[in-house]
C-alpha cells in the first residue's frame, strides 16, 4: 500500500511541479468498520473505504489549498489548474513561510495491530463482548459504538520530503441505563485489548449502579472530581487554545499570555504526545514533513509552548513544533501527566462536592477570557464529608477555564485511554479534583 500511495502522490507532484514555487501532496486513506448499538441491539453496520488527496500550493508567497476525494489524477490536475487561476489576482498570504527543509524522521515502528484488522471482518464478536460486559453487571439498556479501522497517509513535497505511515485504531464507548440512572465510559487506542473493551461496559455499568437516590443540591461552589471523560473534554479545549493559529484568530485564552506565565496550579502538566503509539493520533511526521516530538504545553502550571507549524512559528519568531496543519497547527494526542492520588482518596478529601462522570456541550461566552459552561450527563455523585451520599440530576459547570486550571487540587495516578464523541483527540487522562467550581441549575 505504501508504494501505491506514494507513487500516486509523487506522480501528482511531478505533474504540477512546474506551475508552483512550492507544493506538497498528502493522501489519506481510510478503511473502517463501525457498529452502532442501540438498546442492546445492533442498529447499524457502517463501513467506509476512501482516499482523500490534499494539495498545498504556493506561488509568489500566495498560498492555495485543494482537497479532493477523487483519486483520478487528471481530475485533480484540472482542479489544481482551476485554483491556480487565482494566483495572479490575490495578495500574498499574511502567514506565508517556506516549507521546512526535510530532515531525517525517526519512524514510530509497527502501528498496525493484526487483531484490529482481524476483527474488522467479524466485529459482531467484539460487540457481544462489549454488550455482555455491561449487561452482566445488571444494567437494562446498552447503547454505543464500536469502531475499528486502518488509516494510512502519504506525504511528498517539492523540497524532497517523502513519508508514509499506516496505523490501526480501535475506539468504543458505551452508555448504559438502569432505571433512572445511567453511566458512560470510553476507550481509544491503536491496539485492541479485550480487557479494555470489557472495562468500557463494566465501568459504565458501575456508574449506572451508583443508585443511592437523588438529592436536590443548590447551585453554588463545590469541590468537583472530574472523571477522565470530563478531563478529556475540557483539556481538548485548553489544548486547542494552544494552537498558535487559534491565538492569532481570537479563539484562545492564551492571547494575552507569554511563555512562562503561570496558567494553572503546579499539579498540572499537559502535553501533546505524538510519539505515544498507544494513542491513535500518533504520527512520526506532520503535514509539512517535520518530525514530531512529545512536548509539554503546560509544565507544572506554566505555559511552556504553543503548537506551531512553520507559518505560525515565523509569526511568533520561533520554530515549528511538528504540529502542522498546513494552516492551523493541531495536537496529535493529548496527555495529562499522572499525579499521586486516586479517586478514592479524592472522594475522602471532599467535604462538600460532586463527582461528575461525564459531560457534553461545552461552549464559551468568550474564548479570550475563558468564560465557559458545560453540562453533566450520566452519573453525578454527591459527596459529603468524604463519602458518596447520593446522586444529583443534571447540573452545569459554569465557570472560567483559567480559574478551573488554577484550582486543580489533586491529579490521579492512573491515566485512561479515552476517545469518544466529546473527546475527539485521543487522550490519556486521569481523574482530577478541582476546588470551588461554580455549579448552576435552571431557576425553574
Amino acid at each position: 500500500m505504501s508504494s501505491e500511495l506514494l507513487d500516486t502522490a509523487g506522480t501528482l507532484l511531478r505533474k504540477l511541479r512546474s506551475s508552483y514555487d512550492e507544493l506538497a501532496v498528502m493522501i489519506n486513506g481510510i478503511d473502517s468498520v463501525m457498529v452502532k448499538i442501540v438498546n442492546n441491539n445492533v442498529a447499524l453496520k457502517y463501513s467506509r473505504k476512501s482516499y482523500n488527496v490534499g494539495l498545498y500550493l504556493v506561488k509568489g508567497r500566495k498560498v492555495l489549498i485543494l482537497e479532493s476525494s477523487t483519486s483520478d489524477l487528471n481530475q485533480l490536475s484540472r482542479a489544481a489548474d482551476d485554483i491556480s487561476k487565482y494566483v495572479h489576482i490575490i495578495e500574498e498570504s499574511e502567514l506565508y513561510a517556506p516549507l521546512p527543509e526535510p530532515r531525517q524522521v525517526k519512524p514510530l515502528g509497527n502501528l498496525v495491530d493484526g487483531n484490529v484488522v482481524k476483527y474488522m471482518g467479524e466485529p459482531a464478536k467484539l460487540c457481544e463482548v462489549l454488550i455482555n460486559s455491561a449487561v452482566n453487571e445488571g444494567v437494562e439498556r446498552v447503547s454505543g459504538i464500536l469502531s475499528l479501522g486502518v488509516r494510512s497517509k502519504a506525504l511528498v513535497s517539492s523540497n524532497g520530503f517523502e513519508g508514509f505511515e499506516v496505523g490501526s485504531e480501535v475506539s468504543t464507548y458505551l452508555r448504559v441505563f438502569k432505571g433512572d440512572y445511567s453511566g458512560h465510559w470510553a476507550y481509544g487506542s491503536r491496539f485492541l485489548d479485550l480487557k479494555s473493551i470489557e472495562d468500557v461496559g463494566r465501568t459504565a455499568a458501575q456508574y449506572a449502579s451508583y443508585a443511592k437516590g437523588f438529592i436536590d443540591i443548590p447551585p453554588g461552589r463545590y469541590d468537583v472530581i472530574l472523571s477522565p471523560l470530563v478531563v478529556g473534554n475540557l483539556m481538548e479545549l485548553v489544548v486547542s487554545m494552544t494552537s498558535a493559529f487559534n491565538v492569532l484568530a481570537g479563539f484562545s485564552m492564551f492571547i494575552s499570555k507569554s511563555l512562562g506565565d503561570v496558567v494553572a496550579t503546579d499539579k498540572l502538566t499537559l502535553a501533546d504526545v505524538p510519539r505515544d503509539i498507544e494513542l491513535s493520533g500518533s504520527t512520526s511526521f506532520d503535514d509539512e514533513g517535520v518530525e514530531t516530538y512529545n512536548k509539554e504545553l503546560i509544565s507544572r502550571g506554566s505555559l511552556k509552548t504553543l503548537l506551531h507549524n512553520s507559518k505560525t512559528a515565523r509569526k511568533f519568531n520561533t520554530v515549528s513544533t511538528g504540529n502542522a496543519g498546513w494552516i492551523t497547527p493541531r495536537p496529535w494526542n493529548i496527555a495529562v501527566a499522572p499525579g499521586d492520588s486516586d479517586v478514592d482518596e479524592m472522594v475522602r478529601e471532599v467535604r462538600n462536592g460532586l463527582l461528575i462522570s461525564n459531560n457534553w456541550y461545552t461552549r464559551l461566552q468568550n474564548y479570550v477570557e475563558g468564560a465557559f459552561s458545560t453540562v453533566s450527563r450520566d452519573a453525578v455523585l454527591v459527596i459529603r464529608d468524604g463519602e458518596v451520599v447520593g446522586n444529583a440530576r443534571r447540573v452545569r459547570i459554569a465557570d472560567n477555564l483559567s480559574r478551573l486550571l488554577s484550582n486543580i487540587w489533586l491529579v490521579g495516578r492512573k491515566c485512561y485511554l479515552i476517545k469518544w464523541w466529546e473527546v475527539e483527540v485521543p487522550s490519556k487522562v486521569p481523574y482530577i479534583l478541582v476546588k470551588d467550581l461554580n455549579i448552576t441549575k435552571p431557576f425553574e
Binding site: 485543494l66 482551476d82 439498556r141 494552516i327 479570550v368
Partner: protein, 478 residues
C-alpha cells in the same frame, strides 16, 4: 455520476436478497477564503464526492460508502455489506422496518441570481477585508485585538435512487460568511462576537444581507455593552428575547427533542435522548398558547432548503409544537414505522460518506402580529436580550442556558442602557410556559447542526420573532 450505475447497484443488491436498497451519489464542493485582521491567509477548494449505499438485509441495516466510483468497486461494497450483515444478524433483536410511504420521483434546484463566478476572487477578498475596516473604524474607546473571517461557497448535488422506485436529483448552492471579532477595553475586559450570514443562493445574498451596515451597527452596540453594561436586575423581571436568541432556543429545545430517533433512543450514546415520550404526541402541554414552532425545509432561499429528503420523501412544513402542545415529531421511514405513521421527509446526510439521519432544516417560532414597541410598552423594568454567545442544553433537551451578549435594560416600555452577560437558565417547560407575547418580526440565522457518529454537520436555519417571557430570574456569569 450516471443514474444507470446507481440503478444497477440497487438492482444488484436486490438480486442478493436485500430487502431495501438505496444508492446516493453526493458531491459537496467548497470554496473558502480565510482572512485575519483583513489580510488574506489562504484560499481553498474542497471537492468531496462518492456514493453511500444503505441496505436492509436479513433485518440488519447497513451503510457503506466509497469514493471509488467504478461498477466493480460499488458491487464489491454491496457484497461486503451483505456478508457483514449476515454475520451480525444474530445480534439484531429489533428488525429494521420502513413505513409504507409513497416515495417520489422528482428534482429541485436553487438557481442563484448572481452566480459565484460573477465576482472576481480579488473583489471577494477586497470585500471581506473591508469588513475588517468597518469593524475597526466603528469603535471609539476600545481596541480590536483581532478579527477573523471565513467566506464559504458550497455547492451540494445529490442523486438518489432506491428499491421502492424513488428517484431524486437535487442541487443547492449556499453561501456562508463567519466573522469573529474581539473588542478589548483596558479596565472593562473584553467582549467576543461570532456573526454568521448564511442562506442558499448566490452572490446576490451579499447585497441582501447589507453586511457593512449590519456589522457596523452591531460593533457600535457591542462597544457600548462592554463599556457601559451593568448587571441584570436581581429580582424576576419580564425578559424579551430577540429573534437570534429565540432561534437557538427553538432549535435546541423544540427541534432536537422532537426528532423521533432521539425519542426512541437511537442517539442515546451520542447526542442523547429526549424528554418527549411517544405518548406525549398530540396531547402534552409544553408551553403557553403563544408557542407554535414550525420546521420547514421548503422555505425558498433558506440555508436548510430541500424539496425531497434522502429517502425520496416529499418535504413539507411540520408543526413541532402547536399552540403550546407537542404536535408532530420529525420522522424518517424507520421511525415512522415504529410510530405507526408516515415519514414527513426529515432524512438527510451531510455527505456521501454519511448515513441519512433525521435532521432539522429550518426551525422557527411562529410570529404574531404585534410591533416590537407594543411587545415592550407595558414593561416597567425588564431586559431585552438581542444576541448571545454561550449556550448549551442537557442531553434530554430540558435544562438549557443562554448567555446574552448585546442586551438592554427596558425601563417604562423603552430600551435604556446596556446589560452585560445576562444568563437565562430555565427548563424547557419553564421557558415556554412563560411566553406571554410574540411580535411579528421574523428573522432567520444560519447554523451547522451536529448529530450522529461519525459526526455530521448539516446546514440549518433557525429563527423567530421577538418574544416576551413573564417574570424570569436572570443569572450572571462568574
Amino acid at each position: 455520476m450516471s443514474e444507470d450505475l446507481l440503478n444497477y447497484v440497487v438492482d444488484y443488491s436486490r438480486s442478493l436478497g436485500v430487502k431495501y436498497s438505496e444508492a446516493r451519489y453526493q458531491l459537496d464542493k467548497y470554496f473558502t477564503i480565510i482572512l485575519r485582521n483583513g489580510k488574506l491567509v489562504t484560499l481553498g477548494t474542497s471537492i468531496n464526492d462518492g456514493v453511500g449505499i444503505r441496505l436492509v438485509y436479513d433485518n440488519v441495516l447497513t451503510f457503506s460508502a466509497t469514493n471509488k466510483l467504478g461498477r466493480d468497486e460499488l458491487v464489491g461494497i454491496v457484497r461486503d455489506a451483505v456478508s457483514r450483515a449476515r454475520a451480525t444478524t444474530h445480534l439484531v433483536k429489533t428488525p429494521t422496518r420502513f413505513s409504507d410511504d409513497v416515495v417520489s420521483r422528482g428534482s429541485y434546484e436553487v438557481i442563484p441570481t448572481k452566480d459565484f463566478n460573477s465576482l472576481d476572487i480579488s473583489e471577494k477578498v477586497k470585500l471581506l477585508a473591508e469588513l475588517h475596516e468597518v469593524i475597526v473604524s466603528s469603535v471609539k474607546e476600545v481596541k480590536v485585538p483581532t478579527t477573523y473571517c471565513e467566506y464559504v461557497e458550497h455547492i451540494q448535488e445529490k442523486l438518489i435512487v432506491n428499491s421502492d422506485g424513488g428517484f431524486v436529483r437535487g442541487r443547492v448552492p449556499r453561501l456562508l460568511i463567519i466573522l469573529n471579532l474581539v473588542l478589548h477595553h483596558p479596565q472593562k475586559g473584553s467582549i467576543q462576537r461570532i456573526i454568521e450570514f448564511g442562506a442558499s443562493g448566490g452572490l446576490e445574498l451579499i447585497d441582501e444581507w447589507d453586511l457593512f451596515k449590519v456589522v457596523e451597527e452591531e460593533v457600535k452596540n457591542l462597544e457600548k455593552s462592554l463599556v457601559e453594561g451593568v448587571e441584570p436586575p436581581k429580582e424576576p423581571v419580564d425578559v424579551v428575547l430577540g429573534p437570534e436568541v429565540v432561534g437557538i432556543i427553538v432549535h435546541e429545545s423544540a427541534g432536537h427533542p422532537m426528532e423521533a430517533d432521539r425519542i426512541l433512543g437511537r442517539e442515546s450514546a451520542q447526542a442523547g435522548e429526549s424528554y418527549v415520550k411517544p405518548e406525549y404526541v398530540g396531547s402534552y402541554r409544553i408551553g403557553s398558547e403563544y408557542v407554535t414552532v414550525v420546521e420547514d425545509p421548503t422555505i425558498p432561499r433558506s440555508y436548510g432548503y430541500y424539496e425531497y429528503d434522502d429517502e425520496c420523501i416529499k418535504a413539507r412544513p411540520r408543526y413541532l409544537y402547536k399552540e403550546g402542545i407537542i404536535y408532530e415529531p420529525l420522522h424518517n421511514r424507520q421511525t415512522a414505522y415504529v410510530f405507526g405513521t408516515r415519514s414527513n421527509g426529515s432524512s438527510r446526510a451531510m455527505d456521501y460518506a454519511s448515513e441519512p439521519l433525521i435532521r432539522m432544516s429550518n426551525t422557527y417560532f411562529k410570529p404574531g402580529d404585534m410591533e416590537f414597541e407594543e411587545l415592550i410598552e407595558d414593561i416597567g423594568l425588564g431586559v431585552y436580550i438581542k444576541s448571545y454567545m454561550e449556550w448549551n442544553i442537557d442531553d434530554i433537551r430540558w435544562n438549557q442556558r443562554y448567555v446574552g451578549l448585546e442586551s438592554y435594560l427596558i425601563v417604562n416600555g423603552e430600551l435604556r442602557g446596556y446589560v452585560r452577560n445576562p444568563v437565562l437558565e430555565l427548563t424547557t417547560a419553564g421557558l415556554y410556559s412563560k411566553v406571554v407575547g410574540v411580535d411579528k418580526n421574523l428573522r432567520f440565522y444560519p447554523g451547522t447542526c451536529g448529530k450522529g457518529d461519525p459526526p455530521q454537520g448539516v446546514p440549518v436555519w433557525f429563527g423567530g420573532p421577538n418574544i416576551r417571557l413573564s417574570k424570569v430570574r436572570l443569572g450572571v456569569t462568574v
